[in-house]
């Protein structure tokens, strides 16, 4: 989108209206407790059963963000999430963090995040958010979390019969663009899934949504569709993202798209505010808009069950 498009009131208004319509029909909003309505009953049932692979997603901890009221502090709300995680009746196999660990890629911010998250005593698989690559050399994230990864930090691993793929769509962002994976990473992805059985469940995770949520706010990935095209033959694909600081879910064929809440601050629904800046909510409401996601995979289930747990219902 060019600056002149933005200046054209009628055009941007039309775009917003189109998106609003699409939001109404395409995105299922979470209801109480954060369980998406379309999958709620199945998911809750599956998640309550014993067994299966259980893992957690947390996102957007933005350590270093410190913006007056109503946000107490990002370390504090992350600690509360960690408290929830430690209190879980079943210990998850591991955790994934879908980026924006830090607010400004400062060593001290990564240190603080590591200290709090370390209390979970879980293995954590990280992918970076754009806030984790703002140091001058863009090297702190990779030094800390990039061991064994390729390129700007992408990698894959297997756990509990599921193939997990961590992608990086925030590294070399182009003027006017959205999130971006780039040619090298796409080639790697294509090779990574080649030869795997189509019955292997795939979990793809990255910071910025790989589906187009709201391009006017940069909420999408330019070459996300290309990445997903390599996964068409797989029976079960789950895409976990962060970045937009709210729960959204969409099911398209065999692909379930899901975004997690932030542990630090909420952002407005697409087009509902002049900009995607931090949402100012009353302090007593804030904790219902922050939280974690628990994911369960059981063999022979088509979809992974995802339960979003707010800090406070």
């Amino acid at each position: 989108m060019s600056a002149s498009d933005r200046d054209d009131g009628s055009l941007s208004r039309r775009k917003i209206l189109e998106c609003m319509t699409w939001v109404g029909t395409g995105i299922l909003w979470s209801v109480a407790g954060g369980v998406p309505r379309s999958l709620g009953i199945i998911d809750e049932a599956v998640a309550k059963e014993a067994g299966g692979l259980k893992f957690l997603q947390i996102s957007d901890s933005h350590i270093g963000f410190d913006f007056k009221t109503p946000y107490p502090n990002a370390v504090g709300t992350l600690s509360e999430c960690v408290g929830k995680i430690k209190a879980l009746p079943t210990k998850p196999a591991f955790m994934i963090h879908t980026g924006d660990i830090s607010h400004l890629s400062l060593a001290a911010q990564f240190d603080d995040a590591d200290k709090v998250i370390g209390e979970t005593r879980l293995d954590v698989h990280y992918v970076p958010g754009e806030h984790d690559f703002v140091d001058a050399d863009r090297k702190l994230f990779l030094e800390r979390y990039g061991r064994g990864s390729k390129g700007a930090g992408w990698y894959s691993f297997d756990a509990g019969g599921v193939h997990f793929i961590g992608l990086v769509n925030v590294y070399d962002l182009k003027a006017g663009g959205l999130g971006n994976l780039g040619h090298e990473q796409l080639e790697w992805l294509e090779a990574d899934v080649k030869g795997r059985s189509a019955s292997t469940p795939i979990v793809l995770f990255a910071h910025v949504p790989l589906w187009t949520v709201y391009p006017n706010w940069g909420w999408g990935t330019d070459d996300g569709a290309q990445a997903l095209s390599y996964l068409k033959r797989f029976g079960s694909v789950t895409v976990l993202n962060g970045h937009i600081h709210q729960v959204m879910q969409k099911v398209e064929g065999n692909v379930t798209f899901h975004t997690a809440r932030s542990t630090a601050f909420p952002q407005p629904a697409p087009g509902s505010a002049p900009s995607p800046g931090p949402m100012k909510v009353p302090a007593e409401k804030l904790r219902s808009m922050l939280g974690i996601a628990n994911v369960t995979y059981q063999q022979n289930q088509e979809r992974l069950a995802i339960i979003d747990t707010p800090l406070q219902a």
Binding site: F67, V134, A175, P215, G277, P278
Partner: protein
């Protein structure tokens, strides 16, 4: 940096005050009067304003972040080095010496774009 600017400003004010009499002394002198043209772009609600800025060659352009979220300034064609991440109220300046059209964007939110048109300097603003 702020200190230096303040000191320079008061030195100029003092010099002018001596030459033109005490009436002028309390005036805050805009940057252009020091023969160093300056112009500003504010970042508000994830938007650069003005979105298109036209300046004379030699002008120092300063971006100031008024949002609650950091932004970063990068040239679309590497005409200048990218800024550090600008937290709330942080600023970044660059002096444009060569006429031309410069596209820039926020490297954290790349859908945010702006243009600076640098025109040849004339008259008193001409570069030596």
């Amino acid at each position: 940096m702020l200190d230096l600017k303040t000191i320079r400003g008061s030195l100029v004010a003092a010099a002018l005050g001596a030459a033109c009499g005490p009436l002028l002394a309390p005036l805050v002198l805009p940057a252009w009067s020091q023969n160093k043209p300056a112009s500003g772009i504010s970042i508000d609600n994830f938007t650069f304003s003005p979105g298109k800025l036209t300046v004379k060659a030699g002008t120092t352009v300063t971006w100031t972040n008024k949002d609650d979220i950091p932004h970063g300034i990068a040239s679309a064609d590497n005409a200048f080095n990218r800024s550090k991440a600008l937290d709330t109220d942080d600023a970044f300046s660059f002096t444009f010496t060569t006429p031309g059209t410069y596209q820039y964007f926020c490297y954290i939110h790349p859908h945010m774009m702006g243009t600076i048109v640098v025109e040849a300097a004339t008259g008193e603003n001409a570069m030596p």
